[in-house]
């Protein structure tokens, strides 16, 4: 039987117009401009001699300065470690909250998760700096107890960057997971236990695979946010950490090379898309459950 399709769009369809406009103006358009710029030798509007070229991409691939590949790798590494750490911290918390009987307890825990989001990223990063720096809370305490003699390198490196990023992005992971875990019927796990699975086995066989869509969504969210983070790696990483977003900002702000910046943006996007698709595939195959795509 052929489906009956009404030709006239529902009047409600107009309500997505603002979202569509926003999406086109602030995502599609800038993205198109960025891609276009990455193929021009210089700004074609200001410079009539600009030519179409792939030299920005060649420059990245050849990497004569020896920093571009490292920056890409560092970006992805920070993204992956942050994602895994957020998942390991966020999943048990989300599971505990989703299964909580007490409404008050749930509300309080939710508040504790959401409240940090009300503070700006810059503020939270500075807070971590006062904790992790050489003269910060941890190092001065350990030194005064005589446990160490010189400060531990807790920041101006990848470690400090990841710590701050995890702190900032765990709420996103938790909020995504709570919804998914909360909708999994507890009786599935009980059925598994009645069939001879211990608590841990029942969790691993039933709840974990059923929460996979949440794990996927949460991981992708945190991964996307942390590979595009700029403020936190700049402040926490100091001169020792160089991620692609930092490099892009440099190219735009100090080197005035928007073409190369555009190429870096496209490369970061392409590489992370490949990783995301592979991740989705692997998890979906591991569990037999439906993935996101």
């Amino acid at each position: 039987m052929p489906a009956v399709v009404s030709r006239r769009p529902s009047p409600i369809a107009w309500l997505i117009a603002p979202a569509l406009l926003l999406f086109i103006l602030f995502f599609v358009l800038p993205f198109a401009v960025m891609v276009a710029m990455s193929f021009f030798s210089s700004n074609p509007i200001g410079n009539p001699h600009a030519v179409v070229t792939t030299r920005h991409y060649q420059r990245f691939i050849e990497d004569n300065a020896g920093i571009f590949h490292d920056a890409l790798w560092e970006t992805l590494r920070i993204g992956l470690v942050t994602t895994v750490a957020s998942l390991l911290i966020g999943y048990p918390l989300a599971h505990w909250m989703a299964r909580m009987q007490s409404r008050l307890g749930h509300a309080l825990a939710l508040m504790a998760v959401i409240t940090p989001l009300l503070t700006g990223i810059v503020v939270r990063t500075f807070a971590w700096m006062t904790i992790l720096q050489d003269k910060g809370v941890i190092n001065t305490t350990l030194i005064s107890w005589g446990l160490i003699h010189k400060p531990l390198p807790l920041m101006y490196n990848e470690f400090g960057t990841v710590v701050a990023l995890v702190h900032i992005y765990v709420p996103f992971m938790v909020l995504t997971l709570i919804g998914v875990i909360g909708r999994i019927d507890e009786r599935f796990e009980q059925a598994a236990r009645s069939l001879g699975a211990g608590r841990l086995r029942a969790f691993a066989e039933v709840t974990l695979p059923l929460s996979l869509p949440g794990i996927l969504a949460g991981s992708l969210l945190v991964f996307a946010l942390s590979i595009s983070a700029y403020v936190t790696p700049s402040l926490m990483g100091g001169t020792n950490v160089l991620t692609l977003p930092m490099l892009i900002a440099q190219q735009v702000g100090t080197s005035f090379n928007p073409g190369f910046a555009g190429a870096l943006g496209v490369i970061l996007l392409a590489v992370s898309l490949v990783i995301v698709v592979a991740y989705n595939r692997i998890l979906t195959r591991l569990s037999g459950e439906q993935g996101l795509a």
Binding site: D185, R187, F188, Q190, A191, A192, R193, S194, L195, G196, A197, G198, R201, A202, E205, V206, P209, L210, S287, G288, E289
Partner: protein
């Protein structure tokens, strides 16, 4: 399949420190018996079942299965099959994987798992649906998968929590027959939780009627129906005329009341409503300042009475069941 006795010994369970769900319940369930826990919602029947299964720990009292105290044995070591309300089939697993689950947890070798899964599915007439997901099955088929999954581990005890509640009437009756037949064939001890008195009467060897966390009466279906001990049991099972105007309260089933000519009557009354039920008619008769329910079975010719007709009511005193006050 071996079956086991179940004994609840003065078991009490309180939730949040105040709501008494199960109040000093003692039950002796025989091996191989179809035993129903019957009562309205909140009577403690499901909590009792969950304590047998091990999902709830009693505050006091002990649970014995097969003569062994299993109160402190964790759920996954109790070797009981359980069929949940709405089945709780694993949605991310196929029918075969669902049924195989319990065997996999027991580290049964693969070839034997395949053999036993096939046998279990054949037993519930589901051969051919092995690779389907639960979401692709009808309610009755899901019900059968749940049964196969619980029975394939050859449990000593099968626990069923309102397993037929989600099915429509026709299918429910069919599944009642199938479940009863399966239970008799396997000889497994089956504890069945339901709020549906017809279902309990139709299937059980014995029934425990529960109310407010306590067991009101335990007995065979005929005993529960014919000889209810308390007002609650009389009222909960079927229709009843409660005669509590005299010195000792009694209960009288509607089918024990005869509609007779006024001259022969113990009481004279007027028909208020007549509900035609197919094989019988249920009359509400106003007599002696109250309403009586009388069920007249249609054998031979029907002598229908309509609302407003004058009728006489008669019954034998031996049919009035005395109730504990």
């Amino acid at each position: 399949m071996t079956s086991a006795t179940i004994k609840l010994d003065c078991v009490t369970k309180t939730f949040d420190g105040k709501v008494v769900a199960v109040d000093a319940v003692t039950l002796d369930i025989r091996a191989g018996e179809f035993f129903s826990l019957l009562g309205p919602s909140g009577c403690g029947k499901t909590t009792s079942l969950r304590m047998i299964a091990g999902f709830e720990m009693p505050d006091s009292g002990r649970v014995h299965v097969g003569g062994q105290d299993i109160t402190d044995v964790p759920v996954h070591r109790r070797d009981m099959g359980m069929v949940f309300q709405s089945y709780a089939l694993f949605p991310h697993r196929t029918v075969a994987e669902n049924v195989a689950f319990g065997l996999r947890m027991r580290d049964v070798p693969r070839p034997e798992i395949a053999k036993r899964v096939a046998a279990a599915l054949a037993q519930v007439a589901l051969t051919g649906l092995e690779e389907r997901r639960p979401g692709q099955l009808s309610g009755g088929q899901q019900q059968r998968v749940a049964l196969a999954r619980a029975l394939v581990i050859e449990p000593r005890v099968l626990l069923c929590d309102e397993p037929l509640g989600a099915l429509d009437r026709k299918l429910r009756q069919q599944m009642q027959f199938e479940l009863k037949e399966l239970q008799q064939r396997l000889g497994v001890t089956l504890v069945f939780v339901t709020h549906d008195q017809e279902e309990a009467l139709a299937m059980s060897d014995r029934i425990a009627v529960m109310n407010k966390g306590r067991v009101e009466q335990v007995g065979a279906p005929t005993e529960i129906y014919e000889r209810p001990r308390t007002r609650f049991v009389a009222d909960f099972i079927g229709e009843i005329n409660l005669l509590d105007d005299g010195p000792c309260p009694g209960a009288l089933r509607p089918e024990k009341i005869r509609l007779v000519p006024v001259a022969d009557a113990r009481l004279e009354g007027t028909v208020e409503t007549a509900n035609f039920l197919g094989g019988a008619t249920l009359y509400r008769v106003a007599a002696g300042g109250r309403t009586y329910l009388a069920r007249e079975t249609h054998s031979g010719e029907r002598s229908p009475r309509a609302a407003g007709d004058a009728v006489g009511l008669a019954w034998n005193d031996t049919d009035v069941v005395p109730l504990e006050s």
